[in-house]
Amino acid sequence: MKPKQNHLPTLSMRASFPLLILELSLPLCLFAALNSEKMMLAKLLFGLITAGMLAILILPENPKG
């Protein structure tokens, strides 16, 4: 019998890449929003950047990558 699979989300190296794209593109959008004084959008984008950092911190890493 196969052991039960663990489906907890992990931050594998493959998952790191989309997160990287977000952490690279969001600050640029944030800069554009700040410059055009769209403060609500800027706050939302900063919130998303923070959420990305929390994801790196909280999600367990996959030792196999």
């Binding site: 190296m13 493959r14 790191s16 890449f17 997160l19 990287l20 952490e23 690279l24 600050p27 640029l28 944030l30 800069f31 700040l34 800027a42 706050k43 984008l45 900063f46 950047i49 923070t50 950092m53 929390l54 790196i56 911190l57 890493e61 030792p63 990558g65």
Partner: protein, 521 residues
Amino acid sequence: MPLNLLTWLLSLLPLVVVMVLMLGFRASGKRASAAGWVSAVLVSLLAFGGTWKVLAYAQVKALWMSLDVLYIVWGALLLYNLVHEAGAIQAISAWLPSVSGDKAVQVLLVSWLMVSFLQGMGGFGVPMAVCAPILVGMGYSPVLAVVMTAIGHAWAVNFGSMATAFQALMAVTGLSGAILAPKAAVLLGLAILPSGMIVAVLGNGWKGLRHTFPLLCLVSLVMGMVQYFLAVNGLWNLAATTASLAGLLVMLLLLRLPRFRQKPAASAQSAPSSDLLIMVSPYLILMLVGFAVVLIPPLNAFLGRTAFSLTLPELSTKLGWITAAEQTRPFHPFSHPGSILLFTVLVSWLIYSRKGYLSEGAGRRITRNVVRSAGDASLGVIAMVGVAAVMTTSGMTNLLARGLSQSISKTLYPAMAPFIGVLGAFLTGSNNNSNVLFGVLQMETARLMGLDVPLILAAQTAGGSLGSVMSPAKVIVGCSTVGLSQKEGLVMRRLVLLDLIPVLIVAAVALLWSLLGGAGG
């Protein structure tokens, strides 16, 4: 922000979080840096009057600073994976024993001389990322490989990378190179020998150091003198690179003398020289193109025409800490070291393909490996640079350095100055940024205390040079090519203590120099 023990400890908190997670809990660089970022944001909001706008602009600034580094990292990873795919790393590892049978000598050639030479073309941990896999190919553990390459080139950071860190020190202090260079060259010159000695001990134990000690002394002397001569004569942008090249040549010459000649190892597989030349051609192209772009003014001017930068407004926290409006450092897409690396990859790919060194599916394998390594390393760099940006725009970094400088007596301050440089470099991953952060502060403190200003600034930049190699941002890059992603804490544990040895030597020399020389400058 008032300076007291509580505010000082709060400023220190993000750094403590990063250090404890990496050294104590062996957390990965990206996770420790993310924790540091979250704690820096919380401290800024709760205790330093940070507003979301200040933090938002800090993140924009962090991204801009990170892009400069990441472009090089991705280029270096691409180059590394290409030469690895072609078998060049194995070829170099197999060739080295034919130069000398002494393992300590082989290690010194790679992780003291070659790595320092590569620092001349681009820093940010790239020399480690290039040289560490060669040591792994020679049979060393990945952790030891990164530690040895980090310590081996720590002395070359200030005057390496076309002396950008030294240029930054001149720019922020307004002092000329003629005033700053002599003492900086002496302090960093004195760090060359201990760096080499540590590498020799790590490479082949105390026996290795005993064998190579005369060689180490002679080569260190040559490198120190060449660096000093060039630096005091206005050629500081070539000082470390030329010094390490001179060291490499002197070492190879000395190895031919009967006194130092060692029988090649029985296992030495000396590759046919033409094959080896083709295999290492990417490094030769990199050097050639790198130096051409920097040293040929019309070419440099032509490629440097296109530049991008961001304009950031004046930022103010609720407690009144003001960060002046600024234009970010321009990004030159065509003369950037990352572009030089990409160009090198393109040409090398053509050469390897023509010679049949790349098997089917090489492109797919290289891309996959780069994406896998770059993802982790890049997230770590972005988060760590974010910590530095949040701390700087919230006034935490300034308070940290003020606390250090005010709690130390005038007599002992010269010994503390390198550690402030180390702090800035550890935080930002760059000797350059450390000088930008603390250069003026160190100069003002030295003036107020009546100390020798050039000596204190030399100690600052020497500390920044030696300390930058143990910063998480650089270690993450160094680990990316030896399969140590997510295990950077293992490297940090060994590296921090060993790298403090040359820092302590520089601190002791600065203290003695100050005591003997009296005030000046």
